[in-house]
């Protein structure tokens, strides 16, 4: 299972006087089991890129290839692409509509034309994966708390059993506890179920802590595609794109300016803590 973008560009309104490329000549490959972070300033084209990945928008130029097949070629079943590449939008809880949680999660499998028993089986599995308690299955989605609703909505996409899951800021508007819970569940999905994950995020800390590969978008162009540790070495370039490095990186820099000799590629609080302790003990 491999999803490939080849020289993909997307223009919102080709007739507009000022043509603005939302996505500009992007090529990349995403494979099963990878945890990829996608960052960029507001309006850098992240969300459009996410929609390109599962065929919701058609590229103006270039190709989207699923296992080598052009998904916009005539006769390619787009439903297959949507099933294999799940997309969770920003604030996905606003798309809930059924009378109870279980039914809503069944919506995806139902659209795939699966028999009733299988729909329920997949929905229950998805709800378990996101850690939803069983006594909430019969509740109206509108009675749930914000975090629970978010998880129900993510389950709605997971129930289609995608090979790659694209999440557009899944933690926006959640409290810190809810945020950590959702992120660690996503990380577990990636590890245990072998799902490829593309996480769009504004939090450099989250990207540093969870992802193994990091994509940076700026003005529609893909500027970096590397391990977070490598990308965060380019602090100045990131800052010129309106981004930043994890806060820990800045602390380590300041400490080094004042005479410490810490490694310059520390990303998480844990790593920094260990390094600083080691330096002090010496």
């Amino acid at each position: 299972m491999k999803l490939e973008l080849k020289g993909v560009s997307y223009i919102y309104d080709p007739l507009a006087s000022k043509v603005k490329k939302a996505v500009d000549d992007v090529s990349l490959t995403i494979e099963k089991g990878q945890f990829v972070g996608l960052v960029g300033h507001t309006g850098s084209g992240k969300s459009t890129l996410a929609q390109l990945l599962n065929g919701l928008v058609k590229p103006t130029a270039g190709q989207v290839l699923l296992d080598g097949q052009d998904v916009h070629a005539k006769g390619f079943p787009l439903k297959t692409l949507r099933q294999r590449v799940g997309l969770v939008f920003q604030y996905p809880e606003y798309q809930l509509f059924e009378e109870n949680v279980l039914k809503d999660v069944c919506f995806g499998p139902k659209n795939l034309g699966l028999p009733r028993a299988e729909q329920i089986e997949k929905a229950k599995k998805a709800l378990r994966l996101v850690g939803m308690e069983e006594n909430l299955y019969d509740n109206s989605p509108f009675d749930l708390s914000g975090g629970e609703r978010r998880r129900a909505a993510i389950a709605g996409v997971l129930a289609m059993e995608p090979d790659i899951l694209v999440l557009d800021e899944p933690t926006a508007g959640l409290d810190p506890a809810g945020r950590d819970e959702i992120l660690s569940q996503i990380a577990r999905l990636c590890k245990e179920e072998g799902i490829g994950v593309v996480l769009i995020s504004h939090s450099m800390e989250d990207v540093a802590a969870y992802t193994e590969r990091m994509l940076v978008m700026d003005h529609g162009k893909l500027c970096f595609d590397d391990a977070p540790r490598e990308v965060f070495r380019h602090v100045e370039e990131l800052e010129s794109m309106g981004l930043s490095a994890p806060q820990v990186t800045y602390i380590v820099r300041k400490l080094n300016e004042r005479g410490f000799a810490l490694p310059d590629d520390l990303l998480t609080v844990e790593e920094a803590k260990d390094a600083i302790l080691k330096a002090i003990m010496k």
């Binding site: 919701l56 949507r82 997309l87 939008f89 606003y94 798309q95 509509f97 659209n111």
Partner: protein, 267 residues
């Protein structure tokens, strides 16, 4: 498709017309509609078209932009033209089986098309050159005499304002929800009427939920800023007539006078 509707869309430009008081634009719209119905001769429409061309040129709105709005009334144009073409009685021009096309029919169909095009273009000028805010302000002020009859003019104005403001927001919301459900394999396009109607449920319920949520948020935000309706409310930009507004009124009256005169004189 939604993007093609220029009716009710504001086009930002720095023109004499844009600067006019919204009440003048309301008056223009009414006078223009009236002027299209004072006569039925070619001269009436030539006069109206000439006047409209001058005004459009003054607004600096690109003609291409105006014509895009015409697309949405194309069906209406064709239907009304066909009705006139086949149903108006008079001197027969072409006769084939039960279909008769009369000379008067052709003339009426032609005039009808011209009238409708002028009508839509003329009235869309109002929304193209005045923001919804300005328009409701103007309407509220022009109709404020109705307050004597205890009609809550301000409340109606505010309602209209909010409704207009929410149209683009809800359009965006519909597109967003549609995409989200499509990502879950929903299909809004294929199938018969019943299947299509059923497919709307996953779109409409979230839309209503979000509309209510937005309405609630807005009400709270308004109350948090002590909004309490009309009484004692002052305006940041109160409507005040300038010299150019008076000139515009004069020109409008002259235009209407000329149109009526030519309708009476040329028969």
């Amino acid at each position: 498709m939604i993007r093609d509707i220029t009716l009710g869309q504001y086009y930002d430009a720095d023109s004499v017309i844009h600067k006019l008081d919204p009440r003048v634009k309301l008056a223009f719209t009414i006078i223009y509609i009236v002027s299209l119905y004072v006569g039925n001769t070619v001269w009436t429409f030539l006069g109206a078209a000439a006047f409209l061309c001058v005004v459009i040129a003054l607004t600096k709105v690109p003609v291409r932009f105006m014509l895009r709005g015409m697309k949405s009334i194309l069906v209406l144009l064709i239907i009304s033209a066909l009705f006139n073409l086949f149903l108006v009685s008079g001197e027969p021009l072409i006769q084939w089986k039960f279909i008769t096309i009369t000379k008067e029919g052709v003339r009426m169909a032609g005039l009808m098309i011209v009238r409708l095009i002028l009508l839509v273009m003329g009235t869309s000028l109002m929304t193209l050159t005045a923001t919804p805010n300005e328009l409701t302000d103007g309407l509220e002020k022009s109709l404020s005499f109705l307050k004597i009859f205890r009609i809550p003019v301000h409340a109606f104005g505010m309602m209209m304002n909010i409704a207009l403001r929410f149209i683009p927001i809800l359009i965006r919301e519909v597109q967003q929800i549609m995409k989200a459900q499509e990502a879950r394999g929903a299909d809004f396009e294929s199938g018969g009427l019943i299947k299509k109607a059923k497919a709307m449920v996953p779109l409409l319920i979230p839309l209503f939920v979000s509309a209510f949520r937005r309405a609630n948020d807005l009400a709270q935000a308004m109350e948090a800023r002590c909004y309490h309706g009309d009484e004692g409310r002052t305006k940041l930009h109160p409507l005040k007539y300038q010299k150019r507004d008076l000139i515009a009124y004069l020109i409008l009256l002259l235009y209407l006078g000329a149109m009526i005169a030519q309708a009476v004189l040329i028969r």
